[in-house]
């Protein structure tokens, strides 16, 4: 770990743009042998982009790239692998249809002299390697049949044991349980002893401080700070990440916001009672009242997605109960949830919209049964859709064109509109403003407030603190499937929210 050793990897003045977006501006980065280098920064800070440059995924950028002191130019990820660089991507990139063993050895299966894959040897070695990470999985089972967290671990195993000299882990722990994280760290420390250079990206600042030797902070495509992990603290890193007081744009969110007292006099619309789901949720309990917006905040993989799907009857909890207006309810389908007055907008618009169908069919789909039990009434549908289009200012204001032709922000409004013709009792919104421009964002905020004021209960789930802070009246924080903190009737700010998570 001594800084006198020549760096494994040195990046100088790296700048990278995607069309109009500059993801990295003049970034320097150094990785030494036997160093675990933690990398933190908010979503969109440019961490993954820099890692993809190192791993040969992005080849067009400006700046110098030195490996062992010599300048290199990768033309592909394969070049980077040949140079001893391996990466676990933020997005799972396993082959779900191959076996566990094949995934562990992806690209370098052991073969005999004839080039035939040695299955038995591969299975045995895969099992051994997995055991070192404490993974107990049948090497011959199909990877896609395993839980996501396990798939993630197996992808990590592949990279850790690939023999690479430089290993990049881009947010690998979000889906892992604490003991799994510990085993991962043990494996990382062993690799560090062997002189491997490791870059570790995580939203969990404690993890970063625990495992890293060196920590670098990114914000808005710039390197803001580099320090030894021993010389810094969680608070200092969070402050560097969000740029308290310095960045005018971020300023409004670092102000304290005072949350109103919870409306305990109003009826409870939905109550979650110790909901548990496999690896994802542990005894999650909360209530949401009529006429309030409950924010649920947490990092990717904290269990939000699963929780939302349980609320809408898409997933069934392993244990625990969901009560709607006090009555226990076990939804057998999303149709049951809809009939119980629950509406849901998932984080990915494409998952809930029919892009090849006209706008009015998208708006009316969830209320057709209220228009007529058997027959379609296209005129009524169009009228309802036109009213929504006007109220939500959806542009272009034409209910006949295919939804796919609308901009992303307008599509998001249509996703909301489909639940508004017949207002639900509980509206569950996942990442309601992700990827929207400022105007569309404030429109959505307005709409949600109006709904709340009409007495609808709203749950807003997001991995972006700004989204939760700008919408919620009360906030609960999910961490690795557990509720770790509730903010109600007190002041809250972005750094306190990040602290809690």
């Amino acid at each position: 770990m001594s800084d006198s050793r020549p760096p494994l990897l040195e990046l100088q003045d790296i700048t990278k743009s995607f069309g109009g977006v500059t993801a990295l501006r003049g970034v320097d980065f150094t990785l030494r042998p036997g160093e675990i280098h933690g990398l933190v920064g908010e979503n969109g800070a440019g961490k993954s982009t820099l890692m993809k440059i190192i791993a040969g995924v992005h080849t067009g950028f400006s700046g110098r790239f030195l490996l062992d002191g010599r300048e290199v130019h990768f033309n592909s990820a394969r070049d980077a692998r040949a140079a001893g660089i391996a990466m676990v991507h933020q997005e799972l990139s396993v082959a779900p249809d191959l076996t566990v063993a094949e995934n562990v050895f992806l690209g370098n299966q052991p073969t005999n002299a004839l080039g035939i894959v040695q299955w038995r040897r591969m299975a045995r070695e895969a099992a051994e390697q997995l055991k070192r990470l404490g993974i107990d999985a049948d090497p011959m089972s199909r990877l896609g049949d395993l839980p996501i967290g396990l798939q993630q671990l197996i992808e990590i195993a592949r990279v850790l044991f690939s023999g690479a000299r430089i290993i990049i882990l881009d947010e690998p722990t979000s889906a892992l349980s604490p003991p799994e994280v510990e085993r991962l760290f043990a494996a990382l420390r062993k690799l560090r002893e062997q002189g491997t250079g490791i870059i570790f990206i995580s939203h969990f600042i404690e993890d970063i401080l625990l495992i890293s030797d060196e920590v670098t902070v990114f914000r808005n495509g710039r390197k803001i700070m580099e320090t030894r992990a021993a010389d810094t603290s969680k608070a200092a890193l969070i402050e560097a990440m969000i740029g308290k007081g310095r960045d005018a744009l971020e300023d409004s969110y670092t102000h304290d916001i005072t949350l109103p007292a919870p409306p305990t006099d109003k009826p409870v619309v939905v109550e979650a009672d110790r909901l548990s789901l496999a690896r994802n949720l542990k005894q999650v309990s909360f209530s949401v009242y009529a006429g309030e917006v409950l924010g649920i905040y947490g990092f990717m993989g904290c269990g939000q997605l699963e929780l939302a799907r349980i609320l809408f009857g898409k997933l069934a909890p392993d244990a625990g109960q969901l009560r709607v207006s006090g009555e226990p309810n076990r939804f057998k389908s999303t149709a049951d949830a809809r009939r119980a007055g629950i509406a849901f907008v998932p984080e990915s618009r494409r998952d809930m919209l029919f892009l090849q169908e006209p706008v009015y069919k998208n708006v009316s789909i969830s209320i057709l049964d209220r228009i007529n039990a058997v027959l379609l009434k296209p005129a009524r549908e169009r009228a309802l859709a036109e009213r929504q289009v006007e109220q939500l200012q959806i542009r272009p204001a034409d209910v006949e064109i295919d939804l796919g032709l609308l901009s992303g922000g307008n599509q998001q409004k249509v996703a909301l509109a489909k639940w508004l013709s017949h207002p639900p009792r509980l509206l569950v919104l996942c990442e309601p403003t992700r990827g929207m421009d400022v105007g569309a964002k404030s429109d959505v905020i307005q709409i949600v407030r109006q709904l709340r004021d009409k007495g609808i209960a709203v749950i807003v789930m997001s991995t972006e603190p700004e989204t939760v802070l700008s919408l919620a009246d009360r906030v609960i924080v999910l961490k690795r499937g557990e509720v770790v903190r509730e903010f109600a009737g007190e002041t809250i700010s972005k750094d306190r929210l990040l602290e809690a998570a």
Binding site: T334, R338, A343, M352, A373, L376, R395, I401, L405, N410
Partner: protein, 345 residues
Amino acid sequence: MAHGDTVPMPEAQARRAGGIASLLRSQMRNIAPFLTLIFLTAFFAVASPSFATLDNVGNILTQVSVTGIIAVGLTFVILCAEIDLSIAAIANVTGIAVAYFTLQESYVNIANVPMPGFAAILLALALCALLGVVNAFGLTVIGIPSFIMTLAMMQIAAGISAMLVRGQIAYKVPPLITTLGSGSIAGIPWIVIVAALMLLLGHLVLTYTRFGRYVYMVGGNREAAEYSGLNVKLILGSVMVISAVCSGIGGMLGVAHFGSAQQNEFDTYLLDSIAAVVVGGTSLFGGRGGIGNTIVGLFVLGVLNNGLDHVNIDSFLKILIRGLILLAALVINVYAQRLRAKAAD
């Protein structure tokens, strides 16, 4: 809401004004089968003087009737991006069942359970509906892909057929079935009328009912249908039952039409029905197409089969030609899907 992105999407306008080229592209799945039909008709009309006669038009209509009845249900299934490989086997077993419950002549050597005509018809219908429910159960509750589930059902239905007739041939069916299958009124065969009515009914259901809309939406984006609070499993289950019942009706009338009920009588109808739906331009990926497409597809196949009999052509070559036409239709089907996807992006 003081503001919003009030600038209309320029590309949306461009696309709307974007003229004939893009219209043609998005309508390719409807236009291509129609052009094929016109081309084939013209070709055979020129190649054979006996093809373009009123009599022969009647022949073609009669020849496609059984396929048409079966294809109504299959259209629902394919619109949902599923498949039903058990249609021909269910048609066969239903036809055999209705004969099984009808008093046969003494020389027919099967374990015959005679019943009044209406009871025989109801029992046969109940049988095919039941087999459809089993398909639906396997697909939606157990989660077996329809391709596999209906492959198993194909065997099961063939097995029941075999058990009922034991290699024999039955001839008698209830009088109502005989009339509808082989009778005619004012010179028009009843079976053509039944096929036309069923196609019409299928079209009305798909176009004007809530259920029909759900079928298109489930086929267009199943995930979105679920997130819109539709009971996707119920809809998928329903289309499997509809398909089985249509097959059963086709089977009963087919038996009367052919004049006998026996094992493996409907085997060619599996491919013909799938071909009719797909050649007509209904998307194998679901959500696009409909009964109108199926009708065009039926005529393409009908004209092709019939026309090849009118021109002097090696009967083995005939099989090959049918295969090639089907391949061409599949290519267009997949290609049209891609064009549309591109247009929507």
